[in-house]
């Protein structure tokens, strides 16, 4: 899409702040900065974790029940 060379340090954890300010790009629409990505990622995981926490036990009961040969009705 464009010829921009990758800034150095692409593999490192932290973006280089100084570099970022010098290399501002016109369309901010598609380019999500690393901090934004990190923030979204963190919120996404927190959201998901909150959904996971109250998992009801009925599913494990269901699987265990269906798994027991004796509790199973004969399949026609």
């Amino acid at each position: 899409m464009n010829d921009r060379k990758p800034p150095e340090g692409t593999g490192t954890e932290k973006p280089m702040e100084a570099q970022q300010t010098t290399a501002k790009k016109g369309k901010g629409q598609a380019a999500l900065g690393r901090e934004i990505q990190a923030k979204i990622g963190q919120q996404l995981r927190a959201y998901y974790d909150a959904l996971i926490e109250p998992t009801p036990s009925r599913f494990s009961e269901l699987v265990r029940q269906l798994d027991k040969p004796d509790s199973k009705e004969s399949p026609e």
Partner: protein
């Protein structure tokens, strides 16, 4: 049907994440629970088609997603949770997230198109690789990558996450994070 205990354990281990995925997709806890139950029943009924040693969570997620999709074609999200109201029904929230933040996030997530939302969740929260997510969704890896990108961009807008320093230069970094080709 006597199930290999190892398979049963793999199945059970996947349930919490599977259910969280189902809630994210449907925006409705009751419906999610139905989806999970139906998924488990189908999985058990078709367990012989599962190849041991392959990815149990991915297999279950695939079944659940297909169920959701086929149902979705019949009836659109009737009970939509567009304002994140089901968040109210959750009894516990992790310490690290404020209630408000959680609500805002789930409301924003609900505004994403289904295909973007599921891609983002699979890759960003359920812990699947792009390749696995592509298999689950039955599409190309590149498609998943672009959906995830668009989902992130949209969320950033919806949530007003903005940092001027983050604009622009990081195309290559983004490519690294997302695996997207700079092309």
């Amino acid at each position: 049907m006597s199930l290999d205990p190892a398979l049963r354990d793999q199945m059970l281990a996947a349930v919490p994440s599977l259910r969280a995925f189902a809630i994210s997709l449907s925006g409705n806890v009751d419906r999610a629970d139905d989806l999970v139950q139906e998924t488990l029943l189908r999985a058990l009924a078709n367990i012989q088609s599962f190849q041991p040693g392959t990815n149990m969570p991915a297999w279950l997620f695939t079944i659940l997603r297909n169920l959701f999709r086929s149902e979705y074609r019949k009836r659109r999200r009737e009970v939509e949770d567009s304002d994140g109201s089901y968040a109210e029904s959750l009894k516990t929230h992790p310490e690290q997230t404020s209630h408000v933040e959680f609500k805002e996030f789930s409301a924003a997530l609900a505004k994403l198109p289904d295909d973007q939302r599921e891609a983002l969740i699979l890759v960003g929260a359920s812990g699947f690789s792009y390749e696995e997510a592509a298999e689950i969704c039955g599409c190309a890896v590149g498609t998943i990558k672009s959906r995830v990108n668009r989902a992130r961009t949209r969320l950033a807008n919806l949530l007003n996450i903005e940092n001027p320093n983050d604009f622009g230069p990081d195309r290559a970094t983004r490519a690294v994070l997302t695996g997207d080709d700079v092309a």
